[in-house]
């Protein structure tokens, strides 16, 4: 069985020498830990008075705000006695428990205002969202959004009524064109092989439902994105069998490892239905080369299983390496295309996570037919489709965005990686994505998951940096961390590095 690691939530840290707070509640102590370092930052500029007044004011404001906007549901009126019947108040237990997947990278439950405040002192490097080119999107929306939804030619009735749930053909055309542009026209995409869904998570889950029965399994090279555990396994009952990749191989996938994993699965009586790869990979950020893709296809053909290639970061490549889509390989090969499926989405490459737009691109008619029916449960709302059609059809904007995004990604990645290097922290080669895969094995006290989590905790509570530990990505080698840099500006990098340096010093002095 896959070992699902549960992580402690970052919000209620157990011990911290800095805190002087005596207020109750984990949230208040967290706030205190946030304010104390702020004091230091402000004191440098505004003097003692400002240095005390501002943090106190912020602290009280935060307290007040926390009280009013406590995240999480509160009952309308509390029940007078706790319900006796466990049956009803606890929905089918085994299912719910498997659903309590918790990772330190778990979605923050803070309101935007809180986020703003926290962000002033707290660096979120655990969230793979790209803010580098938000200005471009903002400008485009300001100029075009209004007319693209309800304009002279578009009436409400045009967008309000029922639509084909798998997406308007116009949008599919636009998406096919965009995918081609993003992959630098190495291949073209057929709009009729596209199914649109309300997000990439939906697309992955949908394919999971279509290609495997409950109890079957997918092979997934590890380390892999923690989200996959939820997307592939949660409601479907499908298993993930990690195929470990090693730092000595640059975390690249070996066919031997695949084969071994497949055989082991068979021995355990698990039927493998497919392989799920991500390219560019998450969390490492490397690209799969042609040779690897060919070998994968051969392997899948030999075992008669599917391949799902999650190419959602194809537009966020920033190195000199060439990105090769599985679709391009298929073009040139004469093989059974029915086993090949590609996942894509706009949230990463176009900086539009709130929009929720995922793509299934498949060569299999039956998968397309089944997926089409499944989109009833998660289709993109019509006004959003209209907006996206307008945006994607604006090829000037699209080309400019792709180019600028790549430039900015490259710049910030290089600076971030160089900064880490100066601290003696090397990163795995990263040619794509919003993050780097940092080798902090030198800083962990014990070469184990425990040691790794201790370091993670220090980084979170002392350095105030949220990174994703390799263990939640199912990495077999402890000590690796994913650091996302796309929510930073260049000015933030020295601050981040300084903080990491402090932690790194304490780690070295302890060893």
């Amino acid at each position: 069985m896959t070992h699902t690691r549960t992580q402690t939530q970052p919000r209620t840290p157990q011990s911290d020498a800095d805190t002087t707070s005596t207020t109750s509640g984990g949230r208040a102590t967290t706030a205190m830990r946030v304010i104390v370092p702020l004091q230091g930052v402000v004191q440098g500029r505004g003097g003692l008075v400002l240095g005390s007044v501002i943090p106190c004011a912020l602290f009280y404001f935060l307290q007040f705000y926390l009280k009013r906007h406590r995240p999480g549901p509160t009952p309308t009126t509390p029940p007078s006695t706790p319900p006796e019947a466990a049956e009803v108040s606890s929905p089918p237990l085994h299912r719910v428990q498997s659903r309590s997947i918790v990772s330190p990278r778990g979605r923050p439950q803070w309101t935007p205002m809180m986020r703003k405040i926290i962000q002033m002192v707290f660096f979120q490097l655990g969230l793979a969202e790209n803010l580098l080119c938000v200005d471009l999107v903002q400008d485009w929306l300001a100029a075009n959004a209004k007319n693209s939804i309800v304009g002279r030619d578009l009436s409400i009735s045009g967008i309000a009524t029922y639509h084909p749930s798998e997406g308007l053909m116009e949008l599919k055309l636009a998406v096919a064109g965009f995918m081609s542009r993003v992959m630098e026209r190495s291949t073209s995409f057929n709009p009729s092989q596209i199914i649109l869904t309300a997000g990439a998570a939906v697309a992955i889950e949908m394919l999971s439902f279509c290609l495997a029965d409950a109890g079957n399994a997918f092979l997934v090279p590890s380390p892999y994105s923690p989200d996959l555990d939820r997307d592939v396994k949660w409601r479907t009952g499908v298993e993930i069998i990690p195929v470990p990749c090693r730092s000595t191989d640059g975390f690249s996938l070996s066919t031997t490892a695949l084969d071994r994993a497949f055989t082991q699965a068979k021995k355990r009586g698990l039927r493998v239905r497919g392989i799920i790869i991500s390219n560019p990979s998450n969390p490492v950020g490397n690209l799969l080369n042609r040779e690897t893709l060919y070998r994968l296809l051969d392997f899948a053909t030999e075992k008669n299983i599917h391949i799902i290639s999650n190419e959602i970061l194809a537009g966020s490549t920033h190195g000199s390496e060439e990105f090769v889509s599985l679709a391009e390989i298929i073009d040139s090969e004469d093989l059974d295309r029915n086993r090949v499926h590609i996942i894509y989405g706009l949230s990463k490459d176009l900086s539009l996570p709130g929009f929720g737009m995922g793509v299934i691109y498949s060569f299999n008619e039956n998968v397309l037919a089944a997926s089409k029916k499944l989109t009833r449960f998660a289709s993109i709302s019509a006004p959003t489709q209209r907006l996206l059609i307008a945006m994607l059809s604006d090829t000037n904007f699209v080309d400019k965005f792709i180019k600028t995004n790549r430039e900015r990604l490259h710049r910030i990645c290089s600076e971030f990686v160089a900064g880490l290097k100066q601290l003696g922290i090397e990163c795995a080669k990263s040619s794509g994505g919003f993050y780097c895969w940092a080798d902090m094995r030198g800083l962990i006290r014990s070469y184990s998951e425990k040691g790794e989590l201790e370091l993670w905790d220090k980084l979170l509570n002392v350095a105030k940096i949220n990174v994703t530990p390799g263990s939640s990505c199912h990495c077999i080698e402890p000590g690796w961390f994913q650091c996302c840099f796309t929510m930073l500006t260049e000015k933030d990098i020295p601050v981040v590095m300084e903080r990491i340096a402090k932690v790194s010093e304490t780690c070295k002095s302890h060893s």
Binding site: T74, P79, V150, A160, N366, V367, S379
Partner: protein, 440 residues
């Protein structure tokens, strides 16, 4: 010549190949006939009139006006920073402002007789997703939900397909206007027991689809008592709550809970959507309102698989928070629907066709059993086909709604213009007259 070895075809899952999506039933077949020959007042006056789609087009103009006037606010024209906060990193919590707007809209529909807490609102991409999500959470594969018949044909897909959960019908008949009785509830429960199926809850639609009528307060009380005794859940799909012709005739399960001081409320969950009341199915906006904390938390996480785009939330949020607008809309919408209903029923009566007395929704529950040769499903389908191909009207046969009495049909009246409705009524009148002549 070498013999080609056929590569074994790579297989798909059972879910992918199953027919549980139900899209082969007459309910959907009629839509196909319409798609192939759709009625148009000028270009195709002899085409099929679609009366099988429960869509609300009677109040579009009110919405259109509002959205056009407020398009600036809806997009991010002036509030560029709003985009950054709201669009970026879409949490499955949804925008607080939008949840508040949904809660207050739901309160307005119930004329303040029930209160809704925005923190209990979970957003989904439509009621279809909401119903499926609740089923995933409340039941395991092989378990069952009890659903009163006749029910919305889509439930066969929404509640059963991916979830692996069964629907055990609670049989209702015309002797008491298809209202649920304690005996019927008990019988359904025993039926499930005899099949060794564990019942996890009851799912009602109030107002009912396809009946077009609200559930009596006393019946709701009985249902609530039943689920409490059996210690199971109650899901109340109230997506037509804003389409009740007279607001006082609708009792939401939320009101009953309030009158009981929320005792034992953790078993109750309400589904709502903007598709029917606001006529915005294309927007894909649905919600689950649950009184159970664990269900709310789990549903929120699961809603990652069925998110509403922040842009849509932004677009509708300010509209739904505008109480003057929504109050006016709800009133006008009710009025217009009632007028349509009365026109429909009047026209049918002139043709000698009776309907169930309805007070809500976008359709009538029509009794065509006198036209059946035998009181069987086959005869009902024969009549359905005749009406589809000769009268060129697509209506929904009761059998696709699992009605135990053959001869009933659901006929929609809100998804067309008044003129088209008149044409449809005329066709029915001629059809009935023909029948009288031929049957002597």
């Amino acid at each position: 010549m070498a013999i080609e070895i056929e590569q074994p075809r790579v297989g798909l899952s059972k879910i992918a190949v199953s027919k549980t999506h139900g899209e082969d039933s007459p309910y959907f077949a009629g839509w196909k006939a319409y798609d192939e020959n759709p009625y148009d007042e000028f270009r195709n006056p002899s085409g099929v009139i679609q009366m099988g789609l429960a869509e609300n087009q009677v109040s579009f103009d009110i919405l259109e006006e509002y959205l056009e006037q407020h398009a600036e606010e809806a997009s991010w024209g002036k509030k560029a920073s709003g985009f950054r906060e709201n669009a970026l990193f879409q949490d499955y919590h949804g925008l607080q402002s939008f949840r508040k707007a949904m809660a207050s809209f739901m309160e307005q529909i119930r004329e303040g007789r029930a209160k809704f807490n925005p923190d209990r609102v979970v957003l989904t991409a439509g009621a279809t997703a909401a119903n499926e999500l609740l089923t995933f959470i409340l039941a395991d594969p092989g378990d069952a939900l009890l659903v009163p018949t006749p029910y919305y044909p889509g439930f066969d897909r929404d509640l059963r397909w991916r979830t692996g959960v069964n629907i055990v019908p609670i049989h209702c008949d015309s002797s008491n206007n298809f209202q649920v009785t304690p005996q019927a509830l008990e019988a359904a429960y025993k039926n499930a027991e005899s099949l060794n199926i564990k019942v996890r809850g009851v799912l009602i639609t109030n107002p009912s689809n396809p009946l077009g009528a609200t559930i009596h307060r006393s019946t709701l009380e009985q249902i609530l008592d039943f689920v409490t005794i059996k210690n199971i859940h109650l899901v109340s799909d109230e997506i037509y709550s804003g389409s009740v012709f007279s607001p006082t005739e609708f009792t939401s399960v939320a009101e009953i809970l309030e009158s009981r001081s929320y005792k034992d409320c953790e078993r109750v969950h309400i589904v709502y959507s903007l598709s029917k009341d606001l006529g915005l199915p294309g927007f894909r906006v649905g919600t689950i309102y649950s009184y159970n904390d664990r269900v709310v938390t789990t549903a929120r996480r699961m809603s990652s698989f069925t998110l509403i785009s922040s842009q849509t939330q932004q677009l509708l949020g300010s509209m739904l928070s505008d109480e003057k607008f929504t109050g006016n809309y709800i009133t006008k919408n009710r009025e217009r629907l009632r007028n349509r209903y009365e026109k429909m029923v009047g026209g049918l009566r002139n043709a000698g066709v009776e309907c169930l007395e309805g007070n809500a929704g976008l359709f009538c529950w029509v009794n065509l059993s006198p036209l059946l040769e035998n009181q069987t499903r086959e005869s009902e389908l024969a009549v359905w086909e005749a009406i589809l191909h000769r009268v060129k009207l697509n209506i929904s046969p009761g059998s696709s709604c699992h009605c135990s009495e053959p001869g009933w049909f659901r006929v929609c009246f809100a998804n067309m213009s008044e003129k088209t409705l008149e044409v449809a009524l005329k066709r029915i009148q001629s059809f009935m007259e023909e029948r009288k002549i031929t049957s002597g």
